[in-house]
Subunit: 425 residues, 2 copies
């Protein structure tokens, strides 16, 4: 028989008591920064938030009403892991217009793209596996993959995205997959030209390495022409074998409604060969059974009948203006030696400070001056990005962007002066 409570036990934190795993999860930068943006005085270029002004509130309310009135008990009930079939069919039709020819059996609905990254990590990554990523790359992907003890091979970016001239060497080391953001890269704002896309597909296919293509912003292009996704290029590359039979190929493709409808609904999707979808469905079943039936049906009702096309046009206009406002403000305010990318779409640009400055140090000063961004090092596995930062241009109005960049430029200016003055004594 055991006497009395064991107070040593209860006073020891679980972390020590039960050896909780902490295997190098990227420190919760996104979360802490999301909190920061809740101070109304801070102008935040840090989040990846869509502009709330473009949320289709009325249409979503009408969709809620319709779904509950016509199929209420279905919308509130458990549903299949694969996702709401009419939604998957709608996605198949829409993607068909962008060169992606698949069937609903190739589509799995996920709870945001973050879940797709997690499920793919769960499916493909064994502890210690190396993944080939761009440097910088999407922070949320690193968080998802780190949980499975991934290691990384890195290919740097230039103004046109991944340096494909450096890709083959890394592919030779046998990465588990290549993770690429071809359009309006998060965080870099770069877009891969057609030739680079072709070369990536060609090389990955040659070395038998699958490609994970993350395309959250593909429809949010403000200048230039639409370029085919790697999924389409891969499918053409493999020619008739792929075209005649079921969809195969070496690419898993991700996209989402978070940037075209509303991120609060957490509705995204994966496109992959059927055998991959089958395994991902098993993984998802163990992870959350299925994505909110209600949110899927509301997203479907909102998106259908051409509304999404109209709505995307509106978003493009609003964000296009904001992107230009940020580019203009940077041109106007930033001191010589500061450089930035000129994204053709998406939500972000990438700014690099002159030699000798550190963006993490600048952030502390910037927050005091009531402006925020994400320091570049958050987007690198291991070292990198010390002089860079990610700036979001979708969330703030043009006037606020102007003021925020003015504040930021002042901070950079002061830091430059500080670093240029020789230390006295």
């Amino acid at each position: 028989m055991i006497a009395n409570g064991n107070n040593h036990f209860v006073d020891t934190p679980w972390t020590d008591r039960f050896a909780l795993r902490a295997e190098g999860l990227t420190s919760s930068v996104i979360r802490e920064l999301l909190k920061l943006t809740q101070d109304p005085e801070v102008i935040s270029f840090a989040g990846g938030l869509p502009a709330p002004e473009v949320f289709p509130l009325e249409e979503i309310e009408a969709a809620c009403h319709k779904v509950l009135a016509e199929q209420g008990t279905k919308a509130l009930q458990y549903s299949t892991t694969e996702g709401f079939l009419p939604l998957r069919e709608l996605l198949v039709r829409r993607m068909g217009r962008y060169g992606i020819h698949v069937s609903p059996a190739n589509v799995l609905i996920t709870s945001g793209s973050q879940q797709a990254l997690d499920l793919i990590g769960k499916l493909l990554i064994n502890s210690g596996d190396r993944l080939l990523v761009e440097a910088p790359t999407y922070l949320g992907a690193l968080q998802a993959f780190n949980a499975y003890q991934a290691r990384y091979l890195k290919v740097p970016l230039d103004a046109d995205g991944m340096r494909v001239d450096l890709l083959e060497e890394e592919l030779r080391s046998g990465p588990k997959f290549v993770y690429v953001l071809p359009n309006f890269h998060n965080p870099a704002g770069t877009t891969l030209p057609l030739e680079r896309r072709q070369r990536i597909v060609e090389l990955a296919s040659h070395y038998g390495v699958p490609i994970l293509e993350d395309d959250p912003y593909g429809q949010l292009r403000y200048e230039g022409e639409h370029l085919p996704p790697l999924l389409e290029i891969d499918s053409e590359y493999h020619g008739a074998a792929a075209a005649s039979g079921p969809f195969r190929g070496g690419v898993i493709y991700l996209s989402t409604f978070s940037k075209t409808l509303a991120p609060g609904l957490r509705v995204a999707w994966v496109v992959a060969p059927e055998d991959v979808i089958f395994r991902l469905v098993q993984m998802k079943q163990g992870s959350d059974l299925h994505t909110s039936t209600f949110d899927q049906m509301v997203a479907y009702e909102t998106a259908r009948n051409g509304f999404l096309d109209e709505h995307v046009k509106k978003i493009r206009e609003v964000y296009g203006v904001r992107r230009q406002a940020m580019l203009n403000a940077l041109e106007r305010h930033m001191p010589l030696g500061v450089e930035w990318t000129r994204p053709q779409g998406g939500l972000f640009l990438w700014l690099t400070l002159p030699q000798g400055l550190d963006s993490a140090t600048i952030l502390e000063e910037a927050v005091r001056a009531k402006v925020a961004f994400v320091p570049g090092r958050a987007f690198f596995p291991g070292k990198g990005g010390e002089r860079s930062m990610r700036l979001n241009f979708s969330y703030c109005t043009p006037e606020v962007i102007e003021e925020g960049i003015r504040r930021l430029a002042e901070v950079v200016d002061r830091a430059l002066v500080g670093s240029a003055v020789p230390v006295a004594g």
Copy 2:
């Protein structure tokens, strides 16, 4: 330079090409059975579906309207991983009435309890770790834990739930945690008496093994008195140390709105010490960023102002009648030698066939006779449950239950006769 498409590559399934992991995930029994229930002619006792008649459609529609009208841009935007604060506060107040005294910092909102099981697996389980589970136990938990290559120690159940007289021996082997369903067990329908609850807490504390308490149905009691959750007993057991300071203790507690509001919304929660919540938040951030903001706010608006209490009363009435209908029908139709549990609440009872019969074989016959259930072996890691089955009584009306049990009893009758006839020749 690489010539032409590599057709061997594209013709090989991913499963072989990229060595997709398949580490003994329980075959997708739930999913396949959910599909089965879509045949309108089959009377399904297989799912764990709430009755759609009790979904509070009007209240949810009113909540959608209110949320979108008053806080629409917030509801559709990204939100913090921890979950919507007013919802966590409401849960803290409600749980307080059931003896669970914690603060919102001890609560994480998850995308259904399934996600809580997955996150806890991700946090605590290293490949090969042994978990102590009841036999039988919840199938979804096995699915979640199998993904992290868990192994299992098993303690059998009797009519009062876990055989605590067999617990200590298993605890000595050092399991990572003990997974328990104290109320109206899924699948067994059993409820742990107070003394067994106390003994589990005492033993787990003595051996320094955390308890994972899964309580989806705690409020759905149709007879007998409410019993304190292990979380409360553990907290009292550790006495003043726990009561005066922040909530600690050795129990992680799970519950959900899936059975009291609507499963389609995927809103559930974890209660744990703050340092555990902190790590779970990191895990969830990498898994799906956050649970649908909209669904959380709609659940909050629906549940508040006392509606949930009224609604739970209504559910109790409806399900209490159905439980009785199933017990009566079993009494009326089942042949001698068939046994079943008499649950005081919840959604399920557990039926055991006479020696010589196999519930998986019976299922094939049953489906032909247009009635379905889950064979017992699905709820055991390894061997077990061959003669048993789980029957759900929440989804079908009393009339349908009567007819379904009649069909099932006929199938069992025939099988009994079949097994009794000596094989000729």
